[in-house]
């Protein structure tokens, strides 16, 4: 199914190096731009670009290289259609979660279900959503994330810390809202 039909000399290297990362590409695009159709468009465009620039790829981690292109493609798209979203970048206001009892937070987090996690992650500013997706879903190291984002490792560490704090707060809030809703019924 893979290479049998390929004439010698054709871009088999591209197929072996870049195609295996299609799931990773789609996952990132999906979490960055949202709609499945938009995500498919991003991946297709990114793969064409990747093919075009393949001459400039110098070995190294192919997944980071592909995801970097997917990311740039998705950001250009977001800039065009939802510029406000990119601007909400660094909301420094950190609300300390109002959970007094030690361990209570963990219990709240533990009871968060799939829908809540999806919603909380979706609500995060795109820069934060991105680092969580790359670290927790894609399992990338700091160095790999830094490569994808084109920033120093220190920046990755601080974005990741802020992203986690925000995600945690959103989860706790969603959980609390649900409990209140349940009481009112």
């Amino acid at each position: 199914m893979r290479d049998e039909n390929r004439a010698p000399g054709q871009a088999g290297g591209f197929e072996e190096v870049v195609l295996p990362h299609l799931d990773a590409a789609y996952n990132l695009a999906r979490w960055l731009v949202g709609k499945p159709q938009d995500a498919e468009d991003m991946v297709q465009e990114a793969y064409l670009r990747a093919f075009k620039f393949f001459g400039g790829y110098q070995g190294g981690d192919a997944r980071s290289w592909v995801l970097k292109i997917v990311r740039n493609t998705s950001y250009s798209f977001l800039e065009k259609i939802r510029p406000a979203e990119l601007a909400e970048e660094f909301d420094e206001e950190v609300h300390q979660a109002v959970v007094e009892q030690p361990g209570a937070e963990a219990a709240l987090l533990q009871s968060a279900d799939r829908r809540m996690l999806r919603e909380a992650l979706d609500e995060l500013p795109v820069h934060f959503r991105e680092v969580i997706v790359l670290r927790e879903l894609e399992g990338m190291t700091y160095k790999e994330i830094a490569e994808v984002k084109g920033v120093p490792i220190g920046t990755v560490m601080s974005s990741l810390a802020r992203a986690r704090t925000q995600l945690r707060e959103r989860l706790i809030r969603l959980r609390a809202e649900e409990e209140q809703g349940g009481l009112r019924k």
């Binding site: 088999g12 290297g13 591209f14 195609l19 987090l109 799939r114 927790e136 879903l137 399992g139 700091y142």
Partner: protein
């Protein structure tokens, strides 16, 4: 919140980014600091929930086909006169060959002592390949007494084969696979709609504390060692249930 001065360390420790020496130092600190312990636990709870929620979005098959079709090299050969072939295409071909040579040279000589990350990548790739039609099983049987002898002539070790249907993990069969330059056994279990590949190979692990959980391309990989063998369970199944399977297999 972690205690003062320790926040950076805690995060790097949690993400597996500390070297051995500093990891041990931090573990020493953890023993005496309930505050950092609590923070670490909370982070772990959030990570587990994220992983259990299966949030990874896989590329639809239709997209795969579209991307393949759109790559110029993949189209049926076109009768373009040699002189007029787009320069970039030639460059891409040249680069592809160079990279293939480079990768080949870089990966092949490293026998045995492959880093965990490379091995995890290989295992994830094997798992993905096995999920494609017709690649999952070499021997299809829910009977451990059929699967075990099947391996006998094919491997120089005898992987433990048990059916765990009554515990919710029916054995569906086995397969020969190839990881880190050696033949390994792959047992395939099912959990509801999820398939789990359990890769097994003999290896004496001196310090039995292997890196445990790893996520690779959205798949969960769980490593452990038992009775002179190393096991790695790979699946899109959540970590909690994978750990259950690991415990059952250790009995």
């Amino acid at each position: 919140m972690a205690c003062e001065n320790k926040e950076l360390l805690l995060r790097a420790y949690f993400d597996g980014e500390l070297d051995v020496v500093r990891s041990i130092e931090f573990e020493e600190h953890l023993k005496t600091c309930p505050q950092c312990g609590r923070e670490l636990h909370e982070q772990q709870v959030m990570r587990d929930s994220l992983q259990a929620a299966n949030l990874y979005e896989r590329a639809p098959e239709a997209l795969r086909a579209k991307v393949r079709a759109a790559i110029p090299g993949e189209a049926p050969p076109q009768p373009i006169p040699i002189g007029r072939r787009p320069v970039l295409e030639w460059l891409a071909v040249a680069a592809a060959i160079l990279i293939a040579v480079f990768l080949g040279a870089k990966v092949l000589p490293s026998t045995g002592g492959k880093t965990q990350n490379l091995m995890a990548e290989e295992i994830a790739a094997s798992h993905i390949r096995s999920m494609q039609a017709g690649h999952l099983l070499d021997v299809e049987s829910t009977d451990q007494h059929t699967v075990k002898p099947w391996f006998a002539g094919k491997l120089d070790f005898a992987p433990p084969v048990v059916d765990l249907a009554t515990q919710g993990f029916p054995l569906v069969g086995g397969r020969l696979d190839y990881i880190d330059h050696r033949n390994v056994a792959a047992l395939v279990y099912q959990r509801q709609k999820h398939f789990i590949n359990v890769f097994i190979w003999p290896e004496e692990v001196k310090d039995a504390k292997l890196p445990e959980m790893q996520t690779m391309q959205g798949y969960n990989l769980l490593f452990w060692s038992h009775g002179g063998m190393v096991f790695c369970a790979a699946s899109d199944l959540n970590v909690t249930e994978l750990r259950q399977l690991a415990e059952l297999l250790e009995r």
